[in-house]
Structures are given as C-alpha cells and as structure tokens.
C-alpha cells in the first residue's frame, strides 16, 4: 500500500528528502543551543568579561539564525512535498478513473469517489506532512536530547531511563485503549450525520406524517450513544496531559534535590549551575517529543483508512482494454448479436441478457420496448463496448467489437444515455463534446435535426447560453434534445437513443424521428422508448422481457402477435387517436 502511494511522490522526491535533512539540522541546532547557553550561564556566573559574553552571544545568534533558516526551509519543503503528493494523488486517481470501464464505474459510487479524491487525500496529505517533519524530528530530538542530557548531567540523566519507558508505556496503553473506541465512534458519528441528512431531505415526509417528536427521540438516542462513546474515548486520551506533567514534575523534583546535592558535595565538579538548568530544558524536550510521537502515531493510524481507500482506486484495473492490433475503421452500421449472453459481474447468479440472437442491417431503424428491468439498456450498451459480452459474439460492421480501437468504435457508435448529463459551460461547449472541431453551421444543423435550434434561438445568448451544472437551467425535454444534437455531431454510423425523448412531447418526438429518417438515412438507429408512439414507425420493434427477446416485428405484426406489446400499447391507451402523428 505504501509503495503504491509512494509512486505518486515523483517530482516531489527532492523536497521530501530535503525536509527530513533540514529538520535534522534544525534539531541539531535546537539541541546544541541549550548546551551553549549552559556554558554561557556558567561563564556569567564565573564573572567572565563582557567580551566573552558577547562572543557566546554571537555564537548563539548564529546558531539561532541557522536554526531559523533550517526551520524555515523545512517548513517550505515540507509544504511543497506534502501538497505535491496530494496533487499527484488526486491526479493519479482522476486519471485512473478516466480509464475506468463502465464496470469499474459501477463498482464505486459517485459520492465515494468524490470523498476519496477530496477528504481522503487531505488526510493522507496531513499524515505525510507529519511523517516527513514530525516523525523524523521527534525521535531524533529524543535521541539528541538524551545524549546531551547524558553529556551534561552525567548519571543524573539516568532518571530519563526510568521515565521515558514509563511514559512510553503509558502513552502506548492510552492509544491502545482509545484507538478502537475512536474508530468505532467515528463510524457511529458518520451514521448520525447521515441520519440528519436523511431527515433534512425527508422533511416534507416528516412533517406530513407529524413525526417531529418521533424523529427527535430517534435522534436523541443516537446522539446520546455517540456522546457516550466519544466521552469515553476522549477521557482516556485526556490522561496523556497529566501523565506528561507528572513526568516533567518528577524530573524537576529529582534534578532540584539530587542536582543540588551533587553540585554542592562535588564542589561543582560533577555538575554546575548552568548544566543544571539546561538539564531541565532537555527533560522537557525529551518528554514532549515522546508525546508528539504518540500523537503522530494516532494521526497515521487514522490516515491509514484513507490511504487504503485511495489505493483501492489506484489499483483498480480497467476491465476493458484496447486490442493489440486494433482496427481503426468501421465499415458500416450493421450489428450482429450471435447468441450473446451477459451478466454484470462474475458472481452474479442471473444473466442480465441471455442468448440474444439479433441481426441488424446497416441503416435500419430499430425500436426497443419493454418494462423496467427488462435489460433494454444493457443490450445497447454492449454495442459500443461499454461492457464486454459474457458469452457469444457481437459484431459491428461485420467485425468483432473487441477488435476495434475503443475510441474509433465509440466515435462510430454514438450513444445518448438514459441518464444523460450536460456539463457546466455554454451550449456550444457542450455540443463540441461530439466533435471538437465542429463549425457553427454544423452545430446549428445538428440542433435543427434534434429540434433544439428552435428553443436555443429564443435564448438571449443563443448558442452561447451558459448551461449550469447538470443542466439545471434548461427543462428536461430541452436537455434531451441538446444531448441528441451532441451525439449527432459525431456523424456516427450507428446512433443509439436510450429513452432519450421521454420528456419531449410526442409531436416534437415525431419531428426528430422524421428528421433523422430524412437527413441521416444511412445511419443505423436504435431507439429505446417507454412510449409505443416513439417506436411505431420503426422498421422493426424488439420487445424485451426479463433479459430475452420476447418478440420482433413491425408495429402491426406485434399488435397482432405479441401480448406484452399489446399490453403496453393499451396501458398508454392511445388507441383511436388519429390526430396523434399530426
């Protein structure tokens, strides 16, 4: 896992290595300074000359400046390294997601991907900053201060040999006790926040059923639970502070009593006043770095969850790949399903499609109809190789889809998805998704075919109208017509409309089909629809039911022979409406 994450450091290796080095030098300075000050104190005490003090002062100033320089440098390189890692992680994940197949996309929910790219990366960034800065600084400081304490205090420093393991053990116990609690409570906390969100979203339901009191009780129970666990965990963690204070006090008491004794009885030979005070400084350094080590440890354990989630995305291999020797040309718009079966995942028990045998000629118009869950969309998604067939063969233009270059195939098989989306940007920008180099005339032409030109020209900014995220400022019917235009701009050999005119009124719907019949007669057109009126004039209509083809034929034939088709038709109950197609 760590190796995978480390691959994203790349150009930030230099600051990543520089940081610990600078930090180490800073630590050296920080540890030497009390040593020098101890000498200074001694010299002052010995009534030295002013020059000597000034000399020491100068040395100290230089060291402080160096320490500042190193500290400053480390702060900068550390910021660069950690933010750089975050940037690369986000980039790598985003790139990896771009290469996902539909199957990969289905595996992760959108919101989980967003969290991984944002919150999780931030957590790892913080942990990385801690690691290259504090995680090196603290142990180093610990050792240095330890050594210095021995140099200065001699056997007095043995007190640390007792205290440090003691404090270390105490901290270890605290972490061991509190971490599982924290992990559990964070899950509960998430659940609590989720239930608040649920409540906010469902406020109309809550109010119409007069369930305010019920919701309050439910919430209070959950909040109590979270609070109890949090308090428990926090109280364990709160022992750290007094424990630390205890150790410092123990050192103080020990040094003051035993230290004074040593100085006096040895006539200042074994220990002098200056060393005495710096011993206290070192004791503080040792203990606080120990404390920091424990905090870093906690941070890292918490970030490990996030790291795991990031690596999951980075490790996810696209289930679709380009063939070795791809075909870059699609000869025509014919489609052949040869006994095709398909299931969404290997572990799925049921086939989403079973034994589909279907041959579509180039230029044909095919309607597909069937209830929700009859696998209509699944069927067409195989054509542009959004998923790979599980069994059987699928050919486009007489060549197996797996032999095509993916980009070529998807350019020639244009698909208007059921859940279609416009992106924030102008109408033109959105249309150019279909063809980067489309001229204005081409765009207007495509929009005329999809009956979108009419309403676009009523907008004050016309084709430069800004579409808000998710297409919030156009109606559902308008959005669908724009999406069709976008797909038309690809000039594909096969055009698939997956329930793409459901929000368009039947009259406009008919106009779109008429335009397609007249202007792109050679393109194979597959139309999935809920309304029978949308497919009535197709060359052939396929009735899907439970992942199989229930019937194929023209409108008239199916009305005659297919019960499901007749059912759907009568449920929409348009029989006898002669004006419909007017």
């Amino acid at each position: 896992m760590i190796r995978k994450l480390a691959q994203s450091i790349r150009e930030y290796k230099k600051p990543s290595i520089l940081t610990p080095i600078l930090v180490s030098m800073e630590v050296v300075m920080e540890c030497i300074i009390p040593f020098v000050t101890a000498r200074l104190v001694n010299r002052i005490k010995a009534n030295c000359s002013l020059q000597e003090i000034a000399l020491y002062g100068l040395a100290l100033v230089i060291m402080a400046s160096l320490s500042l320089l190193f500290g400053w440098g480390a702060g900068s390189t550390c910021a660069t390294a950690s933010c750089g890692l975050a940037r690369n992680l986000r980039k790598d994940m985003f790139y990896s997601i771009q290469n996902f197949s539909f199957e990969n996309i289905d595996k992760f929910s959108t919101s989980s991907l967003v969290t991984r790219l944002t919150t999780d990366v931030t957590n790892v960034q913080m942990a990385y900053m801690m690691i290259i800065r504090t995680a090196i600084r603290c142990p180093l400081m610990l050792i240095f201060a330890f050594v210095m304490a021995f140099v200065m205090g001699g056997k007095m420093a043995f007190i640390f040999l007792i205290l440090v393991p003691l404090l270390g053990f105490g901290l270890f116990l605290v972490i061991r006790k509190s971490m599982p609690l924290f992990r559990r409570v964070f899950k509960k906390y998430d659940a609590l926040n989720n239930s608040i969100q649920e409540n906010v979203k469902a406020m109309r339901v809550v109010k119409s059923y007069v369930r305010e009191d019920y919701e309050e009780e439910k919430f209070d129970r959950a909040a109590d639970d979270v609070c109890r666990d949090f308090t428990k965990a926090e109280r364990i963690l709160a022992i750290n502070n007094p424990m630390m204070q205890f150790c410092i006090y123990a050192v103080m008491v020990f040094v003051l009593s035993f230290g004074s004794y040593t100085i006096i009885t040895s006539h200042g030979m074994d220990l002098d006043v200056g060393q005495f005070s710096s011993l206290l400084t070192y004791s503080f350094m040792i203990l606080s770095s120990l404390m920091m080590v424990s905090m870093v440890f906690v941070m890292i354990t918490m970030a490990a969850e996030s790291a795991k989630r990031i690596v999951e995305v980075l490790d996810e291999k696209s289930t679709l790949s380009n063939p070795e020797d791809p075909v870059y040309d699609v000869p025509d718009g014919s489609i052949d399903f040869d006994h095709v079966s398909f299931k969404y995942s290997k572990s799925a028990e049921r086939m989403a499609l079973s034994n589909i045998d279907l041959h579509i000629k180039s230029g044909e118009t095919i309607g597909i109809i069937g209830g929700t869950g009859s696998s209509k969309s699944t069927l067409v998604q195989l054509i542009s190789r959004l998923y790979d067939v599980t069994e059987g063969d699928l050919k486009v233009g007489g060549i197996d889809v797996k032999k095509y270059d993916l980009e070529t195939l998807r350019d020639q098989v244009a698909m208007v998805l059921q859940k279609n989306i416009l992106f924030s940007g102008t109408i033109k920008e959105n249309l150019r998704w279909g063809n980067k180099n489309a001229t204005d005339e081409e765009m207007v032409h495509a929009c005329k075919l999809s009956q979108a030109d009419e309403f676009i020209s009523t907008f004050p900014d016309g084709y430069d109208t800004y579409i808000e995220q998710g297409g919030a400022n156009v109606s559902g019917g308008q959005k669908q017509r724009l999406c069709i235009a976008r797909a038309l701009l690809k000039k594909p050999k096969i055009l698939i409309l997956d329930d793409s005119t459901s929000a368009v009124d039947t009259k406009t719907d008919a106009l779109i089909r008429k335009a397609m019949r007249e202007f792109i007669p050679d393109t194979t057109k597959i139309i999935i629809a809920q309304r029978t009126s949308s497919v009535e004039d197709a060359d052939r209509i396929i009735v899907m039911e439970g992942g199989t083809i229930n019937g194929i034929g023209t409108h008239a034939e199916l009305m005659e022979s297919n019960e499901i088709y007749r059912d759907i038709y009568t449920s929409q109950n348009k029989a006898g409406d002669s004006d419909e197609e007017k």
Binding site: I44, C48, S82, V200, M203, V205, S208, S277, A503
Partner: protein, 637 residues
C-alpha cells in the same frame, strides 16, 4: 468591521454562557482547576531561583549539611504544589472531555429539535448541504475550540501573567528586554498568520472549485466515456488541480514557518537577556554598593536572578507560541458557533390552530369523543365566545375559495383558485411545471399559508385546525420518495407507528408493493440504507404509497406518485391504487394523463390559474388545452 467585532464578542460570550448553562457546576470547577494548574505550573521558577541561590552560596564550601535541609524543604513544598497541579490537571482534562462532548451533544440536539419545528419554507430556501455543514464542519470547529483552544488560551494567558509578575518582581530591566522581544513576536505572528489565513481562504475556494469539478465529472463519467472525452477532462482537471496545489502549498508554508520563527526569536531573546544580564552583572560587580536593579523585590542583580530569568523568558516565548497556534482555531470555532446560533435562532413554524382531531363514536345520532380508536374521527371545535365545544365529523370535504398565493412578494403563483372536493371524490391537477399544482398541496397541509381566500376542511377554516392534526388527516405521497435507514417494515410503519406487522403487510398488498418486497433478500426485514438506494425508483414509490396506505387518512394527496413506474406496471398497480383511493377524497397530480383519466374532476392549470375543469370526456369534447395535451401537441415538463 466594527459590527463584525462586536458580533464576535457577542458569539464568544454566548458560547461561554451556553456551556455554563449546560454545566452550571462542572464548568466552574473545571475553570478553577485550569487556573490552579496554570498558576502552579509557572511557580517553579521562584523555587528554582531560591534553590540556585542556595547552591550558589555553598557549592564552593561543599557543605551539604548546612543548606541540605533547607533545599529539601523547598523541594518538598514544590512537590506538594506539583501534586496540587497534577490533581487539578487531571481533573480539568477529564472534566473538559465530558463537558466538550456533552455540550456538543446538547448543541446538536438543540439544533435538531429546533430544525424539526422550522417551517418547510426554510428547507425550500436553504441549501441542504449548507444545513448539513452546520452539523459537521461547524460542530467540529466548535469541538476544537472548546476542548483545546479555550483551556490552552486560558492557561497561556495565566502563565504569561504569572511569569510577567515574577519577572518584574526580580528585575524591571530584564523584563523590558523580554517585553520588547514579545512585541516583535506578536508583530511577526500577525504578519505571518495573516498571510497564512489569506492563503487558507484561497485554498478553501480552490478546494471547493475542485470538488465541484470532480463531482460533476464523476456524475457524468459514463457520458465522458461515451464521447471519448477522457483526455479533455484530464487537461481541465490538471489546471484546477495545479491551482489548488499552489494555494495550499503557500498556505501550509506560512503555517509551517510560524513556529520556527517564533522559536528562534525566543532563542534570540534568550541571548539578549543573557547579554544584558551579563552586562548588568558586571556593572553590578564593579559597584557593589549601589543596586542598579529596579524591581519589586529590591534584590540586587545576581546570577540567581539571571538564570531563572533565562528559563522564564523561554517559557514566556513558549506561551506566546501557544497562543499564536490557537488563533486560527478560535477564529474558525467562533465562525462555526455563529452559524450554529444563527440556525438555532431561526424562527419556528407558528401554529395558532385550536381545533383538534379526536377519535369519536356515534351515540344516538350524536358524536361523542372517546379514547380508543374507532375508525371514526371528529373535529373538536371549542368556541371561545361562549365556551361550548362542538364536534364535526371528519368526512374529507375540502374546498378552496378564491385562493391566491405567492412564495415571493409580487410574484404570485396562484390566482383565484376555487376547487370543491366532496368526500370520496378524485380531483386531478395537470399542467406544466411551474403551473402551481404542487403549490396547491403545499397550501392544503399548510406547509405554506395562503395570501388571500379561504380553505375549508369539513366546513372549518384550516387556519383554525392544529397543524399536526390537519396533517394527520392528510396522506401525502410525493414525487421524491424519501425512505429512512431501517427495514422495509419500519419504513411502511412510518405512516402509523402503532400498526401491527399484519396491517403493514396488508397496506403493502393494497399498494401493490407486496410482490417485490417478498422477492427482496430478507423480505420485509430487508435493511434499506442511503435513502433506499438499493431499490429502483418505481419500487420506492410503491413503498411510499404503502406508507400512506397504512396511515389510512381520509384525504390523500398523490403528487406524481406513480411517475417512475412504467405504464404496464402502473396498470397492474392501478387496481390496488383504486382500492386505496376508494372512499377517500383524493387529490392527484400527474403529468402522465393515463394516471388521471378516470378522475371525477380534472383541473388544467396554467400559470397559476385553472383554465379548464371537468371530466375527461367533457374536456376532450371541449377540444381545448386538455385535448391538445392529450393528443401530444404540447410538452409537459
């Protein structure tokens, strides 16, 4: 700016006041412990000075016996102070853990309970993400502030004050030196922290932008694939990502270098104090008769003053560093607290209704109130004028007279709406989005109040009916179905908390949901999570209808309740729906005309007005707007 400052002060005071009101005993105890801990922790300097002075006097003679007992006595006193400090330290840390979590819990409950009482208008007008961030980000910021910043600041301030006092006690000159350095430190802090927070704000903005982009692309990932748009989206992402990197690099850099700077200014201070101390010592040594020191203690300057002074200057610098580290979290905590209080202060939904819905039975042709559920309901109507109480039987007769309504001033949504729905009738509304169909239902259950006109329910003005009772008598099935985390059974029972399992199952059968529920992995005990994301939209709508069925209300409002169920399934469900609607007054909103065709009255709405009304046959015969809709000449959206 000034207003901002006073409001900050106001928020601070209110946070403190609120916590005190939550913990009127514990909080003062915790405060006292913090103060004791802080004072006791800064006192050792005094003892050190005394001990060092003694050591100084006698180290040359090496006579431990002479001073030994004195030193040990001092250390013993010090030790007892330490015990006090430890006890207080332990106590305040534990207390603060309890107080922090407890206060946050109470704050959350206050927010949540208050939120349940807010009018629907609030939820319509405010972004849900924004409401949520008060529960998450703002509460987290507050936690940081209560549990860490407050005690830390208090300790630092007390430490600074105590040390400052001790310092002037010993030497004014050296204190002045320290003060000068402190001013420099404060200046640097302000400068660097200012830069840092400016970049942090910019980082936050970039982060928001990047999140927005990621969210948009992730939502449209399949479209990206279908259009081979991967490379373009990578390029766009890189641009935003690089910008975020720059901002966050700068923000973190400034935050990171603040500590080394302060620490080394502290070191410089140490040197300067040593130098000046040394000078003073030498000068003093040259004229032993006069004291050049100015201090409260009137002690002459000596090594036993300079050495502890050096330590104190370190501690002083450390405390200032601590304060500067807390600045950011205090600012964020206060901002969070401000938003939380603002949320708690939102005005609640007002209810002046006094007519109540009660169980009733009929004795000798008269309606009598009773405790048990009889299946008969009545409106209990107390008359203030003469103190009498009348009962009206609940039948579900709903009438709107010339109702006008506007969400925003001068933007009327409904004009002169008059609708009579007699008990058992099915009334349908059709019309384009924004025609005002859903608004009518919002008025019926008083999510919003009408501007002009009257709505009468069984002859009673609905303004007189208690909102809770009014809503209990209306069953709502909305287009956006909201399910709750819990089992399928729990979700159905939401309609009537007292319903038995059997009643719930019957309701599901009635709504046509039983079939698919039994096919779920664990049937009625299947857990739903994430708003029932494991169900299809159509299945969720069926559950929502079952929920209304178990509530068994006399009046039902179906707002696009079957819009996501395909027409063939709808036809199958239709029988159940008809059974459900039987004997009830029903308001149906749908844009699929097959759903409403068999209604008693169909209201065609356009721009807030009813433009046509009548039965399906009548409207078709009129060859008006409804006819055009029906024949598909108009787009309903």
């Amino acid at each position: 700016m000034k207003k901002n400052k006073t409001s900050k002060k106001h928020t601070t005071l209110r946070v403190i006041k609120t916590i005190f009101s939550f913990y009127p005993v514990m909080m003062p105890v915790a405060l006292i412990c913090i103060v004791i801990n802080a004072i006791v922790s800064s006192i050792p300097a005094v003892f050190m000075q005394n001990v060092i002075a003694m050591v100084e006097q006698s180290w040359e003679s090496g006579d431990w016996a002479a001073v030994g007992s004195q030193i040990l006595t001092l250390v013993a006193i010090l030790a007892s102070f330490y015990v006090l400090s430890l006890i207080s330290g332990f106590a305040y840390n534990q207390l603060m853990a309890i107080i922090t979590q407890g206060s946050l819990k109470k704050m959350r409950e206050l927010m949540f309970n208050n939120m349940q009482r807010l009018p629907i208008k609030y939820f319509d007008q405010n972004n849900h993400g924004d409401i949520m961030s008060r529960y998450t980000n703002d509460i987290d910021a507050l936690r940081q502030m209560i549990s860490q910043s407050f005690p830390q600041l208090l300790i630092s301030v007390i430490t600074i004050a105590t040390i400052f006092f001790i310092m002037i006690y010993y030497s004014l000159w050296l204190t002045l030196v320290v003060l000068a350095c402190v001013i420099v430190m404060l200046f640097i802090t302000k400068h660097v922290a200012g830069h840092s927070s400016r970049y942090f704000i910019r980082q936050q903005k970039s982060l928001g932008k990047e999140e927005g982009y990621i969210e948009e692309i992730m939502h449209g990932q399949k479209v990206v694939k279908v259009f081979n748009h991967e490379e373009e989206s990578k390029a766009d992402f890189d641009k935003i990502n690089d910008m975020l990197f720059e901002e966050s690099k700068n923000a973190n850099r400034y935050a990171n270098i603040l500590m080394p700077i302060l620490q080394n200014v502290g070191n410089l201070m140490y040197v300067i104090v040593a130098l000046i101390g040394g000078i003073l010592l030498i000068v003093q040594g040259n004229m032993p008769d006069t004291s050049i020191n100015v201090s409260i203690s009137l002690l002459p300057i000596s090594i036993s003053i300079v050495v502890p002074f050096l330590n104190m200057s370190k501690q002083f610098a450390g405390s200032i560093g601590q304060v500067s580290m807390q600045v950011n979290s205090v600012v964020m905590g206060l901002a969070g607290a401000g938003r939380i209080f603002e949320f708690i202060d939102e005005p609640k939904e007002v209810d002046n209704g006094y007519v109540k819905l009660v169980n009733a039975k009929i004795e000798n042709g008269e309606i009598k109130e009773c405790e048990e559920r009889t299946g008969i309901w009545a409106w209990k109507h107390p008359h203030q004028a003469d103190g009498t109480v009348t009962y009206t039987r609940l039948t579900g007769d709903v009438r709107l007279f010339d109702v006008d309504f506007e969400y925003e001033e001068n933007k009327p949504v409904l004009h002169n709406i008059t609708v009579y729905a007699e008990p058992g009738q099915k009334v349908a509304f059709v019309g384009a989005t924004g025609a005002g169909k859903t608004t009518i239902t919002n008025l019926l259950n008083r999510f919003y109040d009408i501007a002009d006109g009257k709505i009468r329910y069984d002859g009673i003005n609905i303004n007189k009916i208690k909102k809770a009772d009014l809503r209990r008598s209306l069953g709502m099935v909305l287009q956006d179905t909201n399910l709750f985390t819990g089992t399928v059974m729990d979700n159905i029972r939401y309609g009537n908390l007292k319903a038995t399992d059997e009643e719930c199952i019957n309701a599901a059968k009635l709504a046509g949901a039983h079939d698919f529920i039994t096919r779920l992995p664990e049937g009625y005990n299947t857990m739903l999570s994430g708003d029932g994301s494991n169900l299809s939209q159509g299945q969720r709508q069926l559950l929502s209808i079952s929920r209304a069925a178990v509530a068994d209300p006399p009046v039902m409002i179906l707002d696009e309740a079957t819009s996501s169920i395909d027409t063939r399934t709808e036809a199958i469900v239709q029988r159940g729906m008809d059974a459900l609607m039987k004997g009830r007054t029903v308001f149906v909103i749908a844009h699929r005309l097959s759903t409403i065709k068999n209604s008693d009255v169909i209201m065609v709405m356009d721009h807030g007005r009813i433009i046509e009304r009548g039965s399906h046959e009548k409207l078709l015969a009129e060859r008006g707007k409804y006819y055009q809709l029906y024949t598909g000449a108009f787009e309903l959206e």
